[in-house]
């Protein structure tokens, strides 16, 4: 039983009043729980969706390069376009001339987020694992570690932290204001916003779809004039699905581009 079906049951059982879907959609029943080294694992349908998306994108990527040709076939062209978008559009143009080594990492980010986001409009799944804060957070933390590590590697520990703490070209008294902002921005806000932006988008997208589709279902059961509003609600659910499609690509791209700009800041001394 999907979480949406749970919610639907809740809606229909609630009787006269419409009960808006809540967080329960994001906490489905665990299918399997186990503990390794003191860490509790709960395998839920969202975990399964994550695995399906992961295996799906790995399968897709492997299929695109299974028999690479100079003149690409349709599948290869599709994979190549995605990879080129990240490699040329982000690694080379955003990160800079020394950004090409980061292309595989950035492309992995892009494809991983994209595949997981797409699950939010795939029938039967219809929720993105990125709507669970843990997964965007993982990605943001990995990015956080990487861009700080790259900054230290490229500029040296002293210069990297000195430039962040004391932004060059700022009048001395302004450091009272600038230094806390820079510290906050570089070490707390960046990874947090990176994770929250993706999470919130997918979370809100799922909630929106849930509200409109459950609302439509509820209104159809009420009858009378509500059929009209039910129809409108249903239409909105479809419109929001298309909107979700846009968000899926946009968020995957935005996450990767932002990581590109952070890497650019780490590689090039001047901010």
């Amino acid at each position: 039983m999907t979480s949406s079906a749970h919610a639907l049951g809740g809606v229909l059982a609630a009787g006269p009043g419409f009960q808006a879907p809540g967080l329960e959609a994001f906490y489905p029943h665990p299918l399997w729980t186990f503990s390794v080294l003191g860490v509790d694992f709960e395998i839920t349908r969202i975990t399964l969706i994550l695995w399906i998306a992961t295996l799906g994108i790995i399968g897709f990527l492997v299929a695109t390069v299974r028999n690479p040709q100079i003149v690409p076939g349709k599948l290869q062209f599709l994979g190549e376009s995605g990879y080129s978008l990240v490699r040329d559009g982000i690694a080379r143009d955003v990160v800079g001339p020394r950004g090409l080594p980061f292309a595989p990492f950035l492309a992995s980010l892009f494809f991983f987020i994209l595949a997981n986001n797409i699950m939010s409009i795939v029938p039967l799944a219809q929720i993105s694992p990125m709507a669970k804060f843990a997964f965007p957070l993982v990605l943001a933390l990995i990015c956080y570690v990487i861009y700080i590590w790259v900054g230290i590697r490229e500029q040296g520990v002293g210069k990297y932290f000195k430039d962040i703490l004391f932004l060059p070209g700022v009048p001395l008294p302004m450091y009272i204001l600038v230094t806390p902002i820079e510290i906050l921005q570089n070490f707390i806000v960046r990874p947090f916003t990176l994770a929250v932006r993706l999470f919130a988008n997918m979370f809100a997208g799922h909630m929106l779809l849930l509200v409109f589709s459950l609302g439509a279902t509820y209104l159809f059961t009420v009858g009378g004039l509500s059929y009209v509003f039910g129809g409108i609600s249903f239409l909105m659910a479809i419109v929001m699905t298309f909107f979700e499609l846009l968000v899926i690509f946009l968020q995957a791209y935005v996450f990767t581009v932002l990581m590109g700009t952070y890497l650019n800041g780490s590689i090039e001394a001047e901010h």
Partner: protein
């Protein structure tokens, strides 16, 4: 469920999910890093090389063609000069041959003329010698004949005289003078 959900904060993730997320992303990253990206880079490189290589090949071929043309021209010029040289040489040789032939012909003609003259001289000498011998004999013979003739003439003349005298005698005897004369002219 609702009670459970109410106690959950969506921004506090369970550790298990973080581990699962790391594993999932790690898998994608590994595949990308080890297989997909190198293959794509390889394809991009091959494509770039195919384009640049094509251009380079075209340039190389053009250079080669220009070189071949240059070589061809050089060879042609060389061949022309060689031909001219051969022609000049042939002309000179021809001249020489003609000269030679003319000289030979002149020599030949000179030799022929010389031999002819020699033969002529020999023949003449021979004839002269021959004639010299014959002329004596002839002269002697002629002289002999002339002499003989004159002696005979004398005899005849004498005979004529005698006959005249006889005729005169006979005319005087018969009286008719003409007939003995015509008889005597026969």
């Amino acid at each position: 469920m609702n009670i459970l959900a109410a106690t959950e904060n969506p921004l506090i993730p369970p550790l298990g999910e973080i581990v699962i997320g790391i594993i999932a992303f790690g898998a994608v990253y590994l595949v990308m890093r080890l297989l997909v990206a190198p293959r794509f880079e390889q394809v991009f490189r091959a494509r770039r090389e195919a384009i640049e290589g094509g251009m380079e090949r075209a340039e190389a071929m053009q250079a080669e063609a220009a070189e071949a043309l240059e070589k061809y021209r050089a060879q042609l010029a060389e061949a022309r000069s060689e031909a001219a040289q051969i022609r000049d040489q042939a002309r000179a040789e021809g001249q020489q041959i003609v000269e030679e032939l003319r000289r030979q012909a002149q020599e030949e003609s000179a030799r022929i003329v010389a031999r002819g003259e020699e033969q002529l001289a020999t023949a003449r000498q021979q004839i002269v010698n021959e004639l010299r011998g014959q002329v004596g004999a002839l002269a002697v013979e002629l002289a002999g004949r002339i002499l003989e003739e004159s002696l005979a003439d004398e005899a005849r003349r004498r005979g004529t005289v005698d006959r005249f005298l006889d005729e005169l005698d006979s005319i005087a005897a018969t009286g008719d003078g003409g007939v003995p004369v015509s008889r005597g002219n026969r």
